[in-house]
């Protein structure tokens, strides 16, 4: 029995297949890049192609992780929360690969050029800052870390993800020369997700004003 099949057979919950399936799906972009690279099918500028696709995958997965909470609150998809940490960690995984490809393959580890890039250019700086902001979030993604920090502090720390998302979308915006259609779509999705949170928060505040006992939704949901 394959590992994935065993996971399907033994995991509990109403959707035991969901997490393993998303795990495999999140690896698909990397598999496709590696496969095409090995066949020389990444086009005339394979390094730039791989770099762009790794970065875009990181952004997509980051937005997907940011969509989990609104999906539960607005659409009632409680199961989405179970994917949030994994999606966030995959976003960080692709951000690491993106940065490593930039530093090691694109720039050939010429640190002087990299430091100059990061400090002089908003385009590079915004991407690098997003990557840095995600690092403590990935490091404190375990249930243990939540316990250690205490939930309120952990939650405050993880609000950094909003800044990381905005910086990542801005980084993508600055990459294109003139055709901003695709970055504009991602920026709009991010804005919609943040707006949904604001609306939900306002709704909760209004409700808790009517009823003194707030919903127990502040319980740790580190999946």
């Amino acid at each position: 029995m394959s590992l994935a099949a065993r996971a399907v057979a033994t995991r509990g919950g109403p959707r035991p297949w969901l997490k393993p399936a998303v795990f495999v799906a999140a690896l698909a972009p990397l598999a496709s890049i590696l496969l095409q690279a090995s066949r020389g099918a990444l086009g005339a500028n394979p390094i730039s192609e791989a770099l762009n696709r790794l970065g875009l995958t990181a952004l997509v997965l980051l937005l997907a992780s940011l969509a989990c909470t609104p999906a539960r609150e607005v659409l009632g998809w409680v199961w989405a929360i179970g994917l949030r940490r994994m999606l966030g960690l995959f976003a960080y995984f692709y951000a690491c690969l993106h940065f490593a490809t930039y530093a090691a393959v694109d720039q050939g580890l010429r640190w002087k050029a990299i430091v100059a890039d990061v400090t002089k250019r908003p385009f590079i700086l915004s991407g690098f800052a997003a990557f840095l902001l995600l690092t403590p979030l990935a490091a404190t993604s375990t249930a243990n870390a939540v316990r250690r920090l205490g939930f309120p502090r952990w939650k405050r720390l993880h609000r950094l993800v909003y800044a990381a998302g905005a910086l990542a979308a801005f980084h993508f915006w600055l990459r294109v020369k003139k055709d901003v259609r695709e970055p504009a779509i991602y920026a709009t999705v991010l804005a919609a997700l943040l707006l949904a949170r604001a609306v939900v928060r306002a709704r909760d505040r209004r409700r808790s004003g009517q009823r003194p006992a707030p919903r127990p939704k502040a319980a740790p949901t580190v999946d």
Partner: protein, 328 residues
Amino acid sequence: MPQPPPNPPSSEITPEAVYADRRRFLKNAALFAATAAGAGAGLVWLTGGLRPGSRATPRTAGTAGKPIAPAPGPYDTAEPQTPFEAVTTYNNFYEFGSNKDDPSRLAGSLRTRPWTVAVDGEVRRPQTFDVDALLSAFPPQDRVYRMRCVEAWSMVIPWQGFPLGDLLRRVEPTSNAKYVAFATLLDPAQMPGQRRGYLEWPYVEGLRLDEALHPLTILASGLYGRPLPNQNGAPLRLVVPWKYGFKGIKSIVRVTLTRDRPPTTWNLAAPEEYGFYANVNPKVDHPRWSQATERRIGELSRRPTLPFNGYAEQVAGLYAGMDLARWF
């Protein structure tokens, strides 16, 4: 006499719970496979992994350029040539879209014959040339040039073309002529990218007259000994090897000599990023990236970018006394 088979021992009977689990297992396995495949394909699609360009036939690996057959002329580089496949599938030609593989996929809609090029403005003999008549009047020569894109990648391309100066002298510029303006065909039906508003159409470019008359400056009609593919700017395009690639306006229909500096498309779009001169200069960075190095298509590591793209000896004199950081 055959014995009837004994009943299986009770230890071998599938427990009812496991029997029921079989259905659930199959259902879960199917949901797992469908979700993994659907979400995985969706992610790959969203991030550009399914674009036809990504599935292009494998090109020659490495630098793998053939050495040029004829003895190099005075302006030719002997560096390995970028494979034909890369030169014709990795293009910036926004008239057909902003992705590198858009032009090679979509430029088939461009009709390059009949085609005329009007040469007018500050000239004594304005004239509209049929492109074939033009090419028989000015037979193409081989020129192997480096091409440095403003996006920090470069190629080595064997062009066939004739010096722009030969054409300009034919129409006799007046003493008022100081600049040369170029325009691409404007026809959104043939050039679908022109229906999008990311640039002003038609694409226009310009040179100072002395730049236009320089023997390195050519109008190209072919590459690798074949007629210019549409995605490379058929039937006639400008090649100015010491300037960034965007100066090399494609599919030209008009050449106008002017008194005043003409507008140029990328300068109009982002004046702080793209200047009129756009001479290759490793010391003047693009605001968003460094121009100190470049990636030669087909090579793994970057190489230093040379002033005037390695043609300083021939052209630096054109800019004597100019502050190249200001006139970028």
